[in-house]
């Protein structure tokens, strides 16, 4: 089996690569590439993302044909994809970081700034927070409710259809931190930086 981590200049993906390789060992082949054919023929795709919503969307669009290939992979072929952090946020129709930017539109909703309640809460939301699992999700299999995950973000994904939400976390408000819609999975937290519990999520995705 091939799992492809999409390398589209979205910032630092070393930790994502290291964690997937750690979990995959020799069982699964981990590719890190922006090669369209390789992405197309892989079994699963990981879409990381750091920096701003706009910079990530721009970077995706900078690689000619990449968005089309991802659409085909996810929407037509219904193959599993995991978005991490801004990778998840880009599932939305629209994001409001820097400037209004169109997302991939795979899960209806928007990405807006976390309400810091007039400075009462620090942003970015950085550190270990507990997840409230609100529905069964394949990637959360074996993860205890209230497990700690590592977060670092200032924007949040607000999906229209609340049924896609598989976990939330409490900060200044209730933040969506894990989604599942058919073959589309996403985490706002960083499983690659969430120690053993995070690696378990990566294992769950690889084992789908």
């Amino acid at each position: 089996m091939n799992v492809t981590i999409v390398d589209y200049n979205s910032g630092n993906i070393s930790s994502v690569i290291n964690s997937f390789k750690e979990v995959a060992k020799d069982k699964v082949n981990i590719e890190v590439t922006s090669d369209l054919d390789k992405i197309k023929s892989s079994d699963k795709v990981v879409l990381p993302g750091q920096g701003s919503f706009k910079s990530c969307v721009d970077s995706l669009n900078d690689i000619n044909g990449l968005v089309d290939i991802l659409n085909e992979f996810v929407i037509s072929n219904k193959k599993p994809l995991l978005g991490i952090c801004v990778g998840l946020q880009m599932f939305a129709d629209i994001g409001f970081e820097d400037t209004e930017t169109k997302g991939l539109g795979w899960i209806s909703g928007k990405v807006s700034k976390i309400d810091n309640q007039n400075g009462k809460y620090k942003l970015p939301h950085i550190g270990w927070n507990q997840v409230n699992i609100v529905k069964d999700s394949k990637i959360l299999k074996g993860i205890d409710n209230n497990s700690h995950m590592y977060f670092v973000h200032s924007y949040e994904f607000v999906p229209e259809d609340k049924n896609v939400i598989s976990a939330t976390t409490d900060y200044s408000s209730r933040i969506v931190c894990s989604v599942e819609k058919e073959n589309i999975f996403g985490t706002q937290f960083h499983p690659e930086k969430s120690d053993k519990t995070g690696l378990k999520i990566i294992d769950n995705f690889i084992s789908l």
């Binding site: 290291n18 920096g51 942003l123 970015p124 270990w128 120690d195």
Partner: protein
């Protein structure tokens, strides 16, 4: 609920761990990769490497340390010391650092913070502020505490937030290596002045100091080196102690 973080820091020189008293009199004590792994297995919320003599000496050894550590530790890794340019940051991130802390370069050339936070995102840019008390204010020091910039720490903290820093690592130069506790006045002042998280550093000698850093200093995270490094306390003991004092920690 978001937990307060405990961050053990390893001072690294030529690829080996050291910890000095007030940044001099270095003692060699261990392999940073193994040490980091012990910390992360013990529940450290993040790991920090500080390449202490990097401003003056050949620093390629740190890249190898970071690369090896990031393949073994799956908690966030912050690396600082001698980071001068966007290219240095890029290189550390590519080696597997999750965040890079910038000290001297942020003071001398704030453009580095603006540019790097735009390029890599604020989440990986930590500005390290080394401050020393002078009268009723704190002044910024650079070059590992050797040079006084004369700049006001509080103003600089705000400027760095505006420039795109994701976090501030605030070290009291008066307290560093003394084990008498954080400079609470400095921490609380800066924390109240900015909306980004503050990591308190410099002066931890016992677990009550960690409690004070969070409760009184209003820090989001507490960094300590020698109390963990010389085995006075384990990270687990520190967390249990904080928990017993009503501070939310990841256990």
């Amino acid at each position: 609920m978001l937990k307060n973080r405990i961050i053990p820091c390893l001072d690294v020189k030529n690829g080996r761990v050291v910890k000095g008293i007030n940044f001099v009199d270095l003692k060699d004590a261990g392999d940073p990769v193994e040490q980091a792994k012990i910390y992360s297995d013990g529940g450290a919320d993040e790991i920090c490497f500080l390449d202490i003599t990097a401003s003056n000496e050949n620093r390629d050894t740190i890249y190898e340390v970071v690369e090896k550590t990031s393949k073994k530790c799956f908690v966030p890794l912050t690396v600082g010391g001698g980071v001068r340019s966007v290219e240095d940051i890029n290189k550390l991130l590519n080696c597997g650092a999750d965040k890079v802390s910038i000290n001297t370069a942020a003071v001398q050339n704030p453009e580095v913070v603006i540019e790097s936070s735009k390029k890599f995102g604020s989440q990986c840019i930590v500005v390290a502020i080394d401050a020393k008390k002078n009268g009723d204010k704190w002044e910024i020091f650079t070059h590992g505490g050797r040079n006084n910039s004369g700049m006001d720490a509080n103003d600089f903290a705000k400027q760095m937030e505006d420039s795109g820093a994701g976090e501030l690592l605030v070290t009291s130069m008066d307290r560093d290596g003394t084990q008498v506790g954080y400079d609470i006045g400095l921490m609380s002042k800066i924390s109240a002045n900015v909306n980004i998280p503050v990591i308190a550093s410099g002066g931890v000698g016992n677990l009550d100091h960690l409690v004070d850093g969070i409760k009184l200093g209003k820090a989001s995270a507490v960094l300590a080196a020698s109390i963990f490094h010389y085995g006075k306390y384990s990270v687990k003991e520190a967390k249990e102690y904080l928990d017993s004092k009503g501070i939310p920690v990841r256990i």
